[in-house]
Every structure is written in C-alpha cells, then in structure tokens.
Symmetry: C2
Subunit: 444 residues, 2 copies
C-alpha cells in the first residue's frame, strides 16, 4: 500500500506574496506581464513535482498603482501559455461566478482542459467588493448570500454545459458522412433565477470532462458551497487548531452531502520564509518588513474592516468595537481571521500590517527547511491539511529555495513523489476520480 501523499500547489503571484517583495534588488518590477517570469516559475514548480500551480484573480484594478505593481494577465490566458511550456503540472485559474456568464466561462475552461491534456482547474470565487461590481454595470456588490446563490446556479449550469456532450459521441464515420451521434448531445435548456441557457456547449468534451473544481471561501456560505461542489479547497488558517477545526468541519459537511470526504482535498496556505539557520530566515523576514510602507497598509486595512478613513492608528490596537462578521458583505472569513489574529496576539495596527504584509492572512512560517518540512508534516498528519498552498514571499527565489531545500526533505520522508511518472490529468494527480457525465452515470 502506498503511503498517503501530500499535495502541493504553487500559488504564483507576480514578484511574491509579500507586498514589499517588488522592492528587493532581485525583483523584476515588470514581472506581472512577463511570460518568461511565469514560465520560469512553472518550471521550478515542475522540478519540485508540485501537483498544480494557481493564479488568483479579480476583475478590478485593486491597488493604487503608486504603491506596488498592479494589474496582471488574465489567468486563463496566462495558464494557456504555461500549458504549452509544461507537461505535468496542473493549471488552476481563478474566475468569478458573479461577473461571468456560464456559457463563455465553461467553454474557456473546456478549451484549457483540451489544450493542456486534462490539466485545467477552476478556483471558483464570488468576488467581494463594490469596485468589481461597478465594472459590470452594478452600483454595489451583490449581498454575500446572493453571490453564493448565484454561484450555485452558475455551477449547475456549467456542469450541464460540460455534460452536454457525452464522452463517446464522436463516431467519425467518413464513409457514411456521419461525424457524431446527435442523441448524445444534451442541451441544458436551463431556465433559472440568474441564468437561462438553452443550447449545448460548442466545445467537445474535454479530457477531464470538466476542470477540477476548487473553492476558496471559508464563511458558512462558502463551506456549504464547497461541501457540495469543491474537489479541493484553498484556505487561510493561522493556527494548527483552527486548521484542524476547519478540516474536520469540511470533511463532515462532505459526508453529510453524501460525498466521500477523501474527495475534497483541504489545502491551507503557507508563506515559507526560509533560511539555512533560523537567524538567517528571521533576517530575510526583517528585510521584507523594512520595505513595507505602513501608511499604505493602513488605508487597505481600514477598507477591509469597513472603517472610516482615519479610524485606525498605527501604534494602537484595533478599536474594541468592531462589526460582527454578519455585517460584512465582502470577504467574511478573511475579516474574522484578521480581527482574531490581532486580538489573540494583541497586535498594534503596525504589527498587524507587518503580519498581513507577508500573506494577507495566510500563515507565515519563518525557519529552516527542516522546520518548514516539520510544520507541513505536522499539519498533514494531525488532520489539518491534505496538502499545502505554497505562497513564497519572494518570487522566483522563494520557490527555488522551497524546491531545492524543503522538497527533498518531504521526498525523503515519503510524503511527496520523487518524479511525475507518466502523464496524468490534474484529478489523477490529486488522487480524485474522473466525474461521471450526468447523462450516462445512471446507465453504468
């Protein structure tokens, strides 16, 4: 019997997850639109036999361009380019259910799945924030619950579209002039609250049937959604205990939804800051913190906590009175995580910004390769994770360090493959079954 295997996802982001990473001498400030930068990252991740790589997204220009590198390539487009530069690694793109139409998005993911030989994944998000809404004809963001309601219907429609071609439809009988079996086309004929979609997809069924479904919201609505649809879940967790609770909760929700809990993989994020000694690692961290512009962080934090400008002071703690999560229509679970982190460690706003600067609420772990591997193994063995979302503070160097120094330890411990072996789909990498087509499943 093979040992339970750890899954690794490389969360790629420009010059790194630390907000000040672009200011280091080694960083390319034009990396966000540079294909070679991303190709290099993909090659490093393949060298580390990662399961997948991942790009975040929001249809909005978030930050002030004065503060740090802004803008990015659209993820499905960039991952398509990376598909041609890689052979084994999975390619997970974020896309919003609030600001796309199912027909367009379903065909784009089906196309990526074809072009990559079955390596496509979709990180399904509902997109918080009024700024995004205003780029799509709305005055304000739809309520949190409404966004998740729309997301569920979006998924139902997308699944109907992906299943609208049976796998064995094509007969390609040249002599008879018959290409496919029309009876194996199943138009969705969907009429719902948010969408009406009549016809079949215009892309033949792809290698995986449809992309791996990944989800990244941790609110109650987010978990309900994940339990129903997600095959992998990204999550930000600050402590082993929180991560264990989240893990147990999602697995039990999956069970309640009549799903095999092993078919939903939980991947907390970790920002590893690695040094050959603890002191060297701390020093790396210090250099990054020294480059933070705290005034910028202050404004972002005020927005995120839905406070008035000027409500926070850098050298004081958060106000004692803050809104409950229920009053937040944006990113609910991230709000709670940040408030709890600040309260627990009695952080000043300045210290909180320092902590968030590294991973926006994800666990930053600073130490030697051995210590990083220990933490990963600990969480993995103690019911907190099926794998990790690796979020290097600085790119490409942080990914290089992880692959050169942490990966060998994980391999030596039998937790991670030493090579890819034959080509596999993204689902196969994660040890997940290929989903049945809803129109043929019953016939088996």
């Amino acid at each position: 019997m093979t040992r339970r295997q750890l899954h690794l996802n490389a969360f790629l982001m420009n010059t790194g997850h630390h907000e000040a990473s672009w200011r280091l001498p080694e960083s390319n400030p034009y990396a966000s639109v540079n294909l070679d930068h991303y190709r290099n990252l993909a090659h490093i991740a393949e060298r580390g036999t990662f399961d997948s790589l991942f790009l975040a997204d929001g249809p909005v220009l978030f930050s002030q361009v004065g503060q740090r590198p802004s803008g990015a390539l659209e993820p499905i487009t960039l991952l398509t380019a990376l598909a041609t530069a890689t052979e084994h690694i999975g390619l997970i793109a974020t896309a919003s259910t609030s600001y796309n139409s199912p027909y367009n998005l379903a065909r784009r993911f089906a196309s990526l799945d074809h072009l990559s030989g079955g390596r496509a994944g979709w990180n399904i998000v509902t997109t918080a924030g009024a700024e995004a809404a205003r780029n799509f004809g709305l005055d304000d963001e739809p309520a949190h619950a409404t966004r998740y309601e729309r997301a569920a219907e979006f998924l139902d429609v997308a699944l109907k579209l992906w299943d609208s071609w049976e796998d064995d439809l094509v007969v390609a009988d040249k002599a008879a002039g018959v290409w496919g079996d029309q009876r194996k086309i199943h138009p969705p004929r969907h009429k719902g609250t948010y969408f009406s979609v009549e016809g079949a997809l215009n892309v033949p069924r792809s290698p995986q049937g449809y992309p791996l479904l990944v989800q990244a919201g941790s609110s109650q609505d987010g978990r309900r959604f994940a339990a129903r649809y997600a095959e992998a879940v990204f999550t930000a967790q600050q402590t082993l205990n929180d991560a264990q609770n989240f893990y147990a909760d999602l697995k039990s929700r999956a069970r309640e939804a009549d799903r095999d809990p092993d078919h939903i993989k939980i991947l907390p994020g970790i920002v590893p800051v690695i040094g050959s000694t603890e002191a060297e690692a701390r020093q790396h961290e210090q250099v990054l913190e020294d480059h933070i512009v705290y005034e910028h962080g202050l404004h972002r934090l005020e927005r995120l906590l839905q406070l008035e400008p000027g409500a926070l002071e850098l050298d004081a703690q958060l106000p004692a009175e803050l809104a409950p999560e229920s009053a937040i229509e944006g990113a609910k679970s991230r709000y709670t995580l940040i408030v709890e982190l600040a309260r627990r460690d009695r952080l000043t706003v300045r210290e909180l910004i320092g902590r968030l600067g590294g991973g926006r609420g994800h666990l930053t772990f600073t130490g030697t390769p051995e210590q990083v591997a220990d933490t990963i193994e600990d969480w993995f063995r103690r019911g907190a994770a099926d794998g990790f979302n690796i979020m290097p503070a600085v790119l490409p160097s942080g990914l290089d360090l992880f692959v050169d120094h942490v990966v060998p330890i994980l391999r030596a411990r039998g937790l991670l493959r030493t090579e890819y072996g034959p080509r596999q789909t993204l689902r196969e990498r994660y040890g997940l079954p290929r989903p049945d087509n809803q129109h043929t499943a019953a016939l088996v």
Copy 2:
C-alpha cells in the same frame, strides 16, 4: 520606394473551409481540439510569411453533430497557445460584442497582446441568430441595428479601458517605494445605454496599446461601424466588380470619417483550390463536391434564408419571392450575397449548395498556382483588395499547397515579403500606425 505590399491572412478552420473536407482520407476528424493540428497550420503560415492568422467564432453549437465536425476551442485561448509556438505572425480572434462584457474581453485581448509581444487582433462581430441569444438569457436575437449600436458603445468602452493606463505610467522606483504614477490612470467612469464601467483596466498597457481592430460585417450598419473603428475588414465578394464597389465604398466612408483610407485594409476571402493543371484542380474540387450531403445543406440554406422547412427543392431554383434584406435580422450582407449569386448564375438549390459548400459565400477559385496568383494580383492592382483572407478548402494540405506554390510567385512579383525580418507588431505588419492614447494624444 518600396512597392505596395500585399497582405495575407490565413483563415484557419478545422479540416478546411469545404464542408466535406473532413471526409477525405487525409483529414483528422478530431482536428478541432488538436493543438498539434493548429500548431502545424501556424508554422505553415509563418513559412509563407503571412501577416496574420485568424479564427472565426460564435458562442453557440451551430451544426448538427451528425453532419460534420462540430465545436471548437475558444479562439483567444487557442491563439494564446499558438502565440507561444510562433514568433512573427499576427493572431486574430473573433469575439462577440453582443455576448461579452467589455471589462472581461478588454483584459483578455490585452493579455494576449502582452503574451504575443504585440501580435493580437480582434475580429469584432455582433453574432447573428437566436440560438446564440438563447445561450445568454435572451429569447431571441437583438435586432440587427441594436446589435451594431451596442457594438459601437462596446468599442467606446473597450478603448477607454485600453487607454486607462498611459504608456509610461510605470516608474518602478524601488528606493522610494513608488511603482507607478497614479495620475496616469484614467478610469473610464462610463455610463451609457448598454454598459456602465467605472474602473481602470487591471492589465498594464500592452505593446500595441490595444489589439488590431478587424471587422467582418458588410451590411450598411456593418460598413458604418467599420469606417469608424476597423483597421482591417474581412469580406466575402463573389466578383471583381462587387469587390471594387465595396472597396471604394469603405475607403470613401473612411475619408468621410476623417480617417486615412490607407489605414483600413480590405481583405476579401478566397478559397483557392489548386492543382498543377486546371484539370487536376477541377478534379480536387469534384472530389470535394462528391462528398457533400445535399440534404444537410438544404436545411441549412432554409434556415439562412429564413424559409419554412420544406420550402426548397434540391433540383429547382430559389423561389421567385424572397424577403428583402431589410427583413433579415441575422447576417444581412451574407443573405444578399447568396441570393444574388443564385439568381445571377441561375443555380439550382443543389448547385448553390455546391458553391457554398466550399466557402460559405466566399469566392472559390479553382486553378493552377499561376492562375491563383494572377487573380490575387488582379484584384490587388485594380482597387478590389489590399490583401486576401486565404481560406483553404482542405487543411493542412491546402495551406501547404498555397505556401509552396502560390507564395513563391507572389514573392517573385515583389508583392509579398520574402522573410519577416525583425520582430514586428501586428499593426506594423499591416503598415498601420500605433494608435495614440486618448489621454496623451492632445499633448503631443
């Protein structure tokens, strides 16, 4: 002074533009989702020093899958993969203004322009047909005039988005912690009839500023639109005379719109069926015609002419009474072209289907390489074309034949580059100027 140069665009489509091409022994019936097939075509076109290649599109599963290969990869996605496999050739994707939102589409084209080093082009279409409409929540297609009205507003918004970053915005001052100049961000703040789009694009300005704008509708509305926005125009013309009239009309409309008529390139389509002798070429054509299933063509023609099923008979001519173009809400100019073709040559429905089978209304020219080159040169010199949209009946063989046998003749006549030379953007290939940013143009 260099001689006026001919522009060539390779219109790629599955196993070829002839509807029966997939039935030939040489054809791959799975070509539509096969990256190697398209890579090979792109390499052939680069060997022929074409200006660009092009993919058509509609967000709908058009044909009955029984009749011929159906479905395709989404064009921007496929062209992104081809961008990484090519160095010089332009990459033109069709996308609909009726079934996309400007923010999403603008960023995808900006991304392709970045990833290809400035080789992106957009064939702007309004998408005829109720079937497409029903995939996007509508009951029927919007009226022809409404579609073009929306298209114009779509372009205005897209241009505002592409111009929302000035070219020299990024300062990348690491020491000061200043990445860009916020004053050089110009949010569209657009509130119109069809769209409201508030914020700036989340993609830095791309090499070309924005993709080459191509247009392919020939109705009165289509021409008005082209005169205002298009830098290149695809068109189906059956005779030299019709093509000359169209050419003169569009150039004079451009002049009236205060544009340089040389900055709108007219590219009629041609389906070259090539043989080393005329007889051999005719034989190729005959083989293709022998593989047409006429009953299928009959149904398609009835739909296109907005007739009841059963209204047409294979061995009779078209009914004497047909609706005027003004009654057609779908593809107006294609309707008129087909009706006029049938009337002019007194074709039976069977003969008409045979003619359309090759190029859906585009000129099919059957002959030797010399004869094909003569026709191309004739149209080019006599004010009918700035170049051609090459639509091989069978792919890849038809493109191979064109590149191996017609291209050398065009080169020998000084009409076509013999090599690409240094890298250029798609606009540079077509001899078009880089457009100014609307926010900086006035300052020059």
